[in-house]
Symmetry: C2
Subunit: 262 residues, 2 copies
């Protein structure tokens, strides 16, 4: 069956995460409802990631299959057709034909997340839905030192909200953890092969607490070694987090977000 | 009476502009309502600018006077106190004591506006409230050439929505008109001593039409010379425009926005 790869961007404010939940509507349901209006077979999405309630995306990747007899448009028109049935807080930013063997979930080789902090006594109303307001001054140098300690292969058990019983192997490799400031906006870029549940938010929250002087930077090593959620810092709120880009190996032609940082 | 200078940022989406209108609530009313809860004299605001319905601000400046017997806090606490009574789409980003002679409206020496275009086939949901979606490719070089023709002292009658009978002198000096691209985001920066009603949006709309190939860049000179609204391009929509910064002469200590671009 013809397979397609979609790159999706969304403002997660109004959704209970990517996946549908008992508690409310998910982004996936909403896109699948738009697909069902276009294709009688009601194609389902298989996605690279499941973002939490309130988390945003600029480059989530999903695949779907469309029966040949229902395909009445070329791939390049697929994005427009789906978008015409979506609310304006979700957009397909790219749609391409994928290999029959492509799997958006299992073939992903790397993911990039971006966490944004607005660091000024007053919040900026124009970014209030996509940045965490931290009014106190932050020590950026300390945050950078701490961030460097997250890079590499570690057991990230202290940085996930999942209970130990259901966790399985909690070793992950972070290839980038970079803190940058542009005016009042501080960005934490996280890149790795895979992430545990709420891991990005645990790292971002701990880094902000280092910036506030609540922990010295080297405490990050202690937190990692303890393998206990209680030894790490707070979870940063969901609305500051954006799934930025998902990378695939060359066999599957890497497709990141084709749109830029807001 | 003690005078204060406020720098305000707001998301204009929910407001009928700065000034209250018969058609609905203005930003000024909302801030004055918060002031009335703090000060029995219900101080009124005198502002540098009156933004239109849907236009945003990062650095609008306003002044107000507070009777000495009502002043129970230092200036640095004034911003926090007002913010605690404001909805989260409006924030006082700075409050300072001003000279008795300071006038936020008449003493402004320059204003900077920023117009944002999202130039990609699909809109970016995270900037949908503060950028104009232009899906077709734009010729940036042509837009830059056209922008340069706006700089200088001109009669901007063709770029204002105001009727000629009530317009008065329509000569203004633009010191900067710069078009830059960062990925899919195109920014038009406009700086000048003063602007006519809807002038920024007329210039931005005309520049986008130059980018779309509807006019050659040099047509800008023809538009300016005609002194007739019908000879210029479309008005760009309000939600892409942000009043960025207001500058005052050194006598009044220049106070721009203390927060950065979103």
């Amino acid at each position: 069956m013809p397979k397609f790869k979609l790159t999706l961007a969304y403002d997660g404010s109004a959704y209970h995460g990517w996946q549908s939940q008992k508690s409310g509507r998910g982004v996936a349901d909403t896109v699948e409802a738009a697909l069902a209006r276009l294709f009688a077979s009601s194609p389902k999405l298989v996605s690279s990631s499941r973002t939490d309630t309130g988390v945003h995306a600029m480059g989530l990747v999903a695949h779907l299959e469309i029966p040949p007899d229902e395909l009445r448009m070329p791939a390049r028109q697929l994005a427009l057709a789906i978008n015409s049935g979506l609310p304006d807080d979700i957009r397909v930013v790219a749609a391409t034909r994928a290999a029959a063997t492509f799997n958006a979930r299992f073939d992903a080789t790397a993911k990039q997340y971006c966490y944004t902090v607005w660091n000024h006594p007053a919040m900026n109303p124009l970014v209030r839905h996509r940045a965490w307001h931290v009014p106190q001054p932050l020590d950026l140098a300390a945050m950078k030192s701490a961030a460097a300690l997250f890079v590499g292969r570690h057991d990230f058990r202290s940085f996930t909200a999942k209970r130990a019983g259901v966790l399985g192997d909690s070793t992950r490799t972070l290839t980038r953890c970079e803190v940058t400031r542009r005016g009042s906006e501080i960005t934490i870029l996280l890149e790795g092969g895979g992430f545990l549940y709420k891991m990005c938010r645990g790292i971002a929250g701990s880094l902000v607490q280092v910036g506030q002087g609540k922990f010295p930077p080297q405490e990050v090593s202690v937190m990692l070694n303890h393998r206990d959620r209680r030894s790490a810092g707070v979870n940063a709120p969901a609305h500051g987090l954006v799934l930025w880009k998902v990378t695939y190996s060359k066999n599957n032609k890497p497709t990141g977000s084709r749109i830029q940082r807001p």
